[in-house]
Symmetry: C2
Subunit: 634 residues, 2 copies
């Protein structure tokens, strides 16, 4: 006490000290442990001393090649043993043997969960993408330290200085800062939750193992949520619900007109979707047995209208030419500000839209399908009330939306219905008609996939002309099986003809399930619009159908569609069947990718920026193509 104490190091002098001093900070992810060590220690030993488990057989002598770790931010130059044990791809991605790296600076190191793989396979009904896990969310455990040892260091500095300099957060909100003095003096230590450079939450004790996020696909018809473990990339739970906005209109146009120049209508639509998201959040959290507060990020895809309703943005002008959205780009808002019941400052990342009605769901499909990668031309079609479709190779990406109408969702079809229990979902016509019914129940109606099957099979069996007219019985091919002939019911004019898909007496249904000439016309309008859109994209790109290496059928509906029927019905371009794939909810997969990796998120942003929107409405070329596409190809 005989003299004035040494000056307190300021943050500037502290940084300088780190540059020249004896200590460096190594942050191990995903466990989120920050270890301060003497500069120059071997990384493998640092991990062991810090209690971080790195795979090994040889104990760090360089012979087994198991101790590989992935470097973020700074990647050391590879040494000979790296080339011996690792593949060129692993070296390129930043993997190195930890027993060969000296901790000579601050480092951020991903420790693979096992077997040395740090990447994740995202698989969902046909779409498979291997990605590296680069979540926006990071958790870092900060052990308790006696504050008396660090004179005059503020609580916030003590929290920040745990991190390597490059990762130091620049922002903490007042709400989180207010919790800090108590937690930083708690003997259990605390875990800070980082979203990029923001501290969005601090929690008592070590909660680094619990880090979840949700990817939402908000469709006009269905909302799906995927609860993902951000540390491992594992899908913990899935939940879905019918979009209750449908009480304000089955399709987008109905809901748009409800919200146009009607703030109250918009507010209702917004409240409905927020309430449903919260129900799904609760359901997902309960299934995975995690608290909702441990959900730290949400990504969302949806069409332009769903996007505006979610954010409660005035959609008046979205429904009027020139169809200007309020915002096209990606948007981030705090969950709490949006009313979502998860960690209050969790970012809600709404993926970017393209233009017109081509929204972030299409961006999600393009991201999941890797559209715009490689030299081959590939097309993705999201079949729905609006058929959104994109065509791309690495040089150019274009997209459009075609007004298919609601026929494929069962509307305007005499016995049409959604793909719910009791719906005929697939039909095959041979010597007689074979059907499958959702839930194995007696059939009560026809859903969209069966509608496409029926027209494809009617045409194949010769019961329908290329223009879509029922043949009169007298015009049927002579070898038509009698069981089929009996199903054609003529009632005066040709337009009153109908076909019995399922007889009540055969199936135990209350009445026959039939398809009418008018139903076929409605189906032609729908598939014709989609086909015409696809053809105009080909024209715009200056290629022909056969140049397509692949056509992907996406969307919940696209997934149930039989590729052969889609081809025969003339919904898709006319290409060899083996180039057509159903890829399921690719939009949802896109949302998952964006949740698990900030690199995928950036790719989504680039896709949205690069994709040109081709406007079909009001285009005479579209009208012309549509007229042709209404017919059947063969």
């Amino acid at each position: 006490m005989g003299k004035i104490e040494a000056p307190v190091p300021t943050s500037t002098s502290m940084s300088a000290a780190e540059g020249a001093g004896a200590q460096v900070t190594i942050l191990f992810l995903p466990v989120g442990r920050s270890v301060k060590v003497r500069r120059g220690d071997v990384l493998f030993n640092v991990a062991a001393e810090g209690g971080v488990s790195v795979d090994t057989v040889c104990g760090g002598n360089g012979s087994c090649g198991k101790c590989k770790v992935l470097f973020e931010e700074f990647i050391p130059a590879p040494v000979p043993l790296d080339y011996i044990h690792l593949t060129a791809g692993e070296i390129a991605r930043g993997l190195r043997l930890s027993c060969q790296v000296a901790a000579d600076r601050d480092m951020v190191v991903q420790v693979p969960a096992g077997g040395g793989r740090s990447d994740v396979r995202i698989l969902h009904q046909g779409v498979t993408r291997d990605i590296e896990l680069h979540p926006n969310i990071r958790k870092v455990f900060v052990p308790y330290e006696n504050p008396r040892l660090k004179e005059h260091i503020s609580d916030w500095d003590r929290l920040r200085l745990v991190l390597p300099r490059k990762l130091r957060p620049v922002h903490i909100s007042l709400q989180v800062l207010r919790k800090l003095p108590g937690l930083i003096r708690n003997r259990d230590g605390l875990t800070m939750v980082l979203a990029g450079r923001r501290v969005i939450e601090i929690e008592q004790g070590n909660t680094a193992a619990e880090q979840c996020g949700i990817a939402f696909d908000i469709g006009s018809t269905t909302i799906v949520g995927f609860l993902m473990d951000l540390a491992t990339g594992a899908e913990l739970a899935v939940a879905s619900a019918v979009n209750r906005q449908s009480v304000y209109g089955d399709d987008i146009i109905g809901r748009l007109s409800r919200s146009q120049r009607n703030p109250e209508g918009l507010r209702k639509l917004h409240q409905i979707v927020i309430a449903q998201l919260n129900e799904l959040i609760a359901e997902l959290a309960s299934r995975a047995a995690i608290p909702t507060g441990r959900i730290y990020e949400v990504t969302v895809v949806g069409n332009m209208a769903m996007h505006h309703f979610l954010l409660q943005l005035d959609s008046t002008y979205l429904g009027l030419a020139p169809y200007a959205p309020v915002i096209r780009e990606e948007f981030v808002v705090n969950a709490g500000d949006l009313g979502l019941s998860i960690c209050a400052e969790a970012p809600v990342f709404v993926l970017p839209n393209i233009a017109g009605f081509v929204g972030s769901d299409t961006v999600g499909v393009m991201l999941a399908s890797n559209l715009g990668v490689g030299g081959e031309y590939r097309m993705a079609i999201d079949v729905g009330t609006n058929g959104e479709m994109a065509l791309a190779n690495r040089a150019r990406l274009i997209a459009c939306s075609a007004p298919a109408g609601p026929a494929l969702e069962g509307a305007r079809i005499k016995m049409g219905m959604r793909a719910a229990p009791g719906a005929i979902d697939h039909v095959r016509i041979g010597s007689d008609v074979e059907i499958t019914v959702i839930g194995g129940l007696p059939p009560v109606g026809i859903c969209g996939s069966a509608l496409i099957d029926i027209v494809a099979q009617l045409r194949k069996a010769g019961l329908m002309s290329r223009t879509g007219a029922f043949m009169r019985k007298s015009e049927l091919p002579p070898d038509t099986p009698v069981r089929l002939t009996e199903r054609v019911i003529e009632a005066g004019q040709r337009k009153n003809t109908y076909f019995i898909v399922a007889r009540a007496e055969d199936t135990g249904a209350e009445k026959d399930v039939v398809i009418t000439q008018q139903d076929i016309r409605e189906c032609q309008l729908a598939k014709g619009a989609i086909r015409a859109g696809a053809m105009l994209l080909l024209d715009e790109m200056g290629i022909v159908e056969n140049d397509l290496a692949e056509v992907q059928l996406a969307g919940a509906f696209g997934n149930f569609l039989d590729p052969e029927s889609a081809l025969r019905a003339g919904l898709t371009p006319n290409i060899p069947l083996d180039r057509i794939r159903s890829v399921g909810n690719a939009a949802g997969v896109g949302a998952k990718l964006a949740l698990l990796s900030v690199r995928e998120r950036k790719r989504a942003i680039r896709i949205a920026q690069r994709t040109e929107h081709i406007q079909l409405s009001g285009s005479a070329a579209f009208q012309k193509a549509f007229t042709v596409a209404m017919q059947f190809p063969i």
Copy 2:
């Protein structure tokens, strides 16, 4: 309608087009007018065509030198006429003749309000600082444009693209975005308010002329607010109030103990200051006749305790060794989140603190006083319950706080009082005692500045020893005027001696105003602590009193202090009187500077980072220095 429309330009291709295209955007400030023109037009003409008034006599032929403008971001190379008409300093600062500049790229141009000066003189009771106006807040008027002309451009893009690329905002909140579709289609146009790269508000019509901010100095005793015009730097109004937190304790320690481990106490202290700030905001806005919603930024200085109360940060550990604050750095929070009734997303910039009890008020003083600039050593002393002082030249900045106690604010002094009407504020002792009284009223007490005067003058007149003891009448110098001798009242022991400063019969007061031996002891404790702190700073810096080029007395109290008395009383280091200045509310000036210029704000941050905190409490050297400093120097 014969073919598909051209692809919509994406934001990427749009940027590329601007790089190579024919149009550039010139943003004129402070009017906030954005003008798109043909690349290569003369800037002087662009301004005229855009309705922006630039000073001129010759009409743009280069002969008058009046049309100078200040370039931000990009500064063109000076041409010969610039050297003819402008000073070297003007050229260095980025001023150019607008008639000599081709608008060959996006530009941001400040048009001086008149006379070619774009800088502002901040003057307040002695502290004068000329600064360039670089407010964080910018307003830009966006005229109405028929949206049909810009197909598929989102509303947000239309707003963003008005700005030169470098200034394009990267963030708009959901709340502001929700207002956009309506306002961007309003025929009056809209004005966007930018805080850095954030759009914090949009307003109907052209409101670019109205842009205000408030600088607050939150003292333990008094809160002062300055309403500033951010476009001109003019001070529009000042308002102040006694800090009502004083009901929870006159000094910081009392309030700290009220809030320690007591969230409810903290909440009350927080609510009081927020309520008072809102009252001052209302008063300032009313005086200047502006709506409170047109206040877009707030800067705040205050000591560490005021800082924590303002932000409602747990101050438990601030009052306990090692006196760790929750956060030391600058902090920004939205006004709405803090509960201030101005533009909801207006940033509240709380200046950074140094350490211990040395808060952002000291940083404000150092900023206003230009401490740490130049080679000479200068000291600033903020005289208050805690005396904060800083000593610096360009190489090193150090600061400390000394526990002066409340004597100088009138507490523990028999007839002490605050500097309110009726307080004797200055005293001069010659052949008799002359006093001045605040408000010209009959005197009822003594405020701090008079207390320092009294001890200085008693010592000068030989009525008091160097150790601060009243002389017995028998010991007085023989030439002591009888009128003074009569005022010394002996009452038994020496410690009961007192001195009549103002006789009731002379002044019309109800009773005599006196100063006691005990009062002098209290005054010695206060001034001794400050002097001891100053001496230790000199020791720490390795210099002596005479090396000081200047000592500034800051703070409301420091301003009333007579420099000569401060010197004689031994409150300041013993240096020639002409090196001592009273600089008034320099902390408030610092807050104003930070409000008017982001560069000053950055300087404040650097000052806080660079300044070393010298811990006095518990230091034996301080105790020793204090004992010496209690005595009088001559």
